[in-house]
């Protein structure tokens, strides 16, 4: 078991957050949010991984053969469905903001203050 996938998950989380904090464009910001989310995919899949194990498809594998954990793969799948929903919604909001405010720059959206 290597720590590399966990380090990558942490890196993706951090770099995505950095992107969101410094973003100057709402579309860029939404994509950065997807980067943060992809760190959770890496984390989930890394947790279920077993060295030398096959895919969890039991049709032709002999009984007792090692497979990777199918549960986390199911969780990742669910997670990506959630991601698609949230990203679509956010992109729609971003487009609508652009229609109304004429800008994609979060620095220029300042009507909610104080």
């Amino acid at each position: 078991m290597t720590f590399l996938p966990f380090a990558i998950a942490a890196w993706l989380f951090a770099v995505g957050l950095y992107g969101i904090v410094t973003s100057r464009h709402l579309i860029h910001l939404v994509i950065c949010l997807s980067v943060v989310q992809s760190s959770t995919y890496v984390l989930l899949l890394a947790i279920g991984y077993r060295t030398g194990a096959g895919a969890p498809i039991f049709a032709e594998t002999p009984v007792g053969a090692p497979v990777v954990d199918p549960v986390v793969q199911a969780l990742t799948l669910t997670d990506s469905v959630v991601a698609a929903t949230v990203t679509a919604l956010l992109l729609a909001l971003a487009v609508q903001v652009h229609k109304k405010a004429g800008t994609f720059d979060p620095d220029e959206l300042d009507i909610l203050q104080g």
């Binding site: 957050l17 984390l43 986390v72 669910t78 949230v86 909001l93 009507i111 909610l112 203050q113």
Partner: protein
């Protein structure tokens, strides 16, 4: 009875799907009636279940996949009184705001109804589930419905930006939760809450458990809007459609705290139980900071919905104190407070919506004296302000007194002072705004004009004739307020929830119930003690709030030296804290990251 349990989730989802499939050419009233009926049936079902669960909690396994040898493969719904209380509250609020929106939106179509029902179904699932991952899925479903509801007024800039800030920050919160779940699963190989608890309790605490705990708690803090994770809340609630605000302020944040209690008491109590004193200090500290900061931000607001949003932040801080004291009486107090305060806050938001409907503005100064033509709404609004202060017999005073007493028991008598101060500071601006708008008290023009969020830019949510206020609107506000008042009149309310809270806090009993089907021993109802002290405190708080509201209205009449002193002393602080609420989503995410770092640092340093 057990088979009714999934219906609390199935009915709203099914109704939402049917509504979506119905031809759009239907009469609007048909959609309204159908949605109200669906929400109403959830109220009935969950009330019946609640009454039944006080005699003994129930577990429902989907598809009959019951656990074998303490290993759960299936999904369970666990019905116990605290979860069901929240479901009843949610369904009641959804039904109330659907009735209210009968005259509120003029747009035809049924998307609003569909989203509201999905929101309700997700809340019910979130409360009832006994499984960590489905907790997350219901959480996300609820959040996505909430994002769409918050941005429902797509033609309005504030609403869009509020929804954007809401969606981005809460999604990051959800990713934190998911990371925490992944780590917990990696350690235990289980997703059932009870089974995770048993597995975690076998090993001593280590870095992985603490990291997972921090991720879960931080993610739920975002949802509950605990300082410094709270920045999204005022932006969203100020700009969201009023019927949606009722749900947001009434229950949405409370669910984050419910999940903290649920996750801690089923999963982490076994492994972190020895560190309870430290955890208590962290939670109560965070709650107190939130209560004070939210209350502090209330005072300078003139946009009434934003004012109510900050009072929500403050009150969530108080509920966190109740949850974070980690004791049955305080938890019971937090649930009672959450429920009664949510009803009052919901009613206040509905009154603000009536202002918006009538005058197209929720600006305290812009509406100066205009509200004289709607006296009933005025009475409800001012009564709501007193309810926020915890004036008996509003149920709010019971919850606050229970939390305060329990904190004093544990050696922290200052908690009561913090909570009373926060209630006074949140109630006073509400009373001030109410007296100015509905009675025309106080001078209007020379009030602090620097206020930025003015509240008169908001577009009307209706285009109906403005001459009258449909009686359904103020009647639904009255119903919510009346429910809160009635809750305070329930005999021995203070001890009603205590057996349920005892059970909630018993990890072993929960695991036995879920994994082995052992019904826990019935906890007898303790004798009710009169909350004389709490009632007196409530009256004092209401008086103090009234006096403070008077000062807010007529501060121009104070001697110049006092006024100068106040503005020199508090002015920079107000400006500083308000500047932090920049409306910029990047800033909010930076604060969120800092919050996770602080929380993680504190826990890593103290939990060993």
């Amino acid at each position: 009875m057990r088979t009714l349990l999934p219906l609390a989730v199935v009915i709203p989802f099914l109704a939402a799907a049917l509504l979506l499939a119905a031809p759009q050419s239907w009469e609007r009233r048909g959609f309204d009636a159908f949605a109200v009926a669906a929400a109403g049936s959830v109220v009935v079902i969950s009330s019946v279940l609640l009454a039944d669960s006080t005699r003994g909690p129930m577990v429902y396994w989907f598809g009959g996949w019951v656990p074998e040898d303490g290993v759960a493969l299936g999904l369970a719904f666990v019905a116990e009184p605290i979860a069901l209380t929240l479901v009843v509250l949610a369904a009641f609020l959804v039904a109330g705001s659907l009735v209210y929106s009968w005259h509120f939106f003029d747009t035809s179509g049924n998307l609003f109804h569909v989203l509201m029902l999905v929101f309700l179904g997700a809340i019910a699932g979130f409360c009832l589930t006994g499984d960590l991952f489905s907790l997350f899925v219901f959480f996300e479903l609820m959040s996505v419905a909430a994002f769409s509801l918050a941005g429902y007024k797509v033609e309005e800039e504030g609403s869009l930006q509020g929804a954007l800030n809401f969606a981005v920050t809460n999604s990051i919160g959800a990713f934190l939760i998911l990371s925490g779940i992944a780590l917990v699963y990696g350690r235990t190989g289980a997703l059932n809450l009870a089974q995770i608890g048993e597995s975690l309790a076998e090993a001593p605490v280590d870095g992985l458990v603490i990291t997972a705990f921090v991720f879960l708690i931080a993610g739920l803090f975002v949802k509950a809007a605990i300082v410094p994770f709270h920045f999204w809340l005022p932006d969203t609630y100020a700009a969201a459609p009023t019927p949606v605000c009722v749900l947001f302020a009434g229950i949405f944040n409370g669910l984050g705290l419910y999940a903290i209690a649920r996750v801690y008491w089923t999963m982490f109590d076994g492994v972190l139980g020895a560190e309870l004193v430290t955890l208590r200090a962290i939670m109560v500290g965070a709650g107190a900071v939130t209560a004070i900061l939210g209350a502090f931000m209330c005072w300078p607001q003139r946009h009434i919905k934003r004012l109510l949003a900050f009072s929500t932040v403050s009150h969530v801080g108080m509920f966190l104190i109740g949850v974070g004291l980690f004791s049955p009486a305080a938890l019971a107090g937090a649930i009672i407070y959450l429920m009664t305060d949510g009803l009052v806050k919901g009613s206040l938001f509905l009154c603000a919506g009536i202002l918006l409907h009538r005058f197209s503005s929720v600006d305290e100064l812009g509406c100066d004296g205009k509200g004289r033509s709607i006296p009933y709404t005025g009475v409800l609004f001012l009564l709501g302000g007193l309810g926020l202060a915890g004036l008996p017999p509003f149920g709010t005073f019971v919850g606050r007194a229970l939390i305060g007493e329990e904190a004093a028991h544990l050696g922290w008598p200052w908690v009561t002072y913090v909570m009373v101060a926060a209630s006074v500071l949140t109630a006073a601006p509400v009373l001030r705004a109410g007296a100015r708008v509905f009675w025309g008290w106080g001078p209007g023009a020379d009030y602090d004009q620097r206020s930025e969020a003015e509240g008169d830019e908001e577009e009307p949510e209706t285009t109906e004739a403005r001459g009258t206020t449909p009686s359904l609107m103020w009647l639904s506000a009255a119903a919510l307020l009346g429910a809160s008042l009635a809750a305070g009149l329930v005999p021995d309310l203070s001890v009603r929830l205590e057996p349920a809270a005892e059970l909630f806090l018993d990890r072993r009993a929960y695991a036995d119930l879920v994994l082995r089907g052992v019904t826990p021993n019935e906890v007898p109802l303790p004798p009710g003690a009169p909350l004389t002290e709490g009632a007196v405190t409530g009256v004092i708080a209401a008086l103090a709030a009234t006096v403070a509201a008077g000062i807010g209205l007529w501060h121009a009449k104070l001697p110049a030296s006092i006024r100068g002193g106040i503005s020199r002393g508090l002015g920079p602080a107000f400006r500083g804290v308000r500047a932090l609420h920049s409306g910029h989503v990047g800033d909010y995410v930076a604060w969120l990251t800092a919050g996770v770092a602080i929380l993680g640092g504190l826990m890593a340093a103290t939990l060993r």
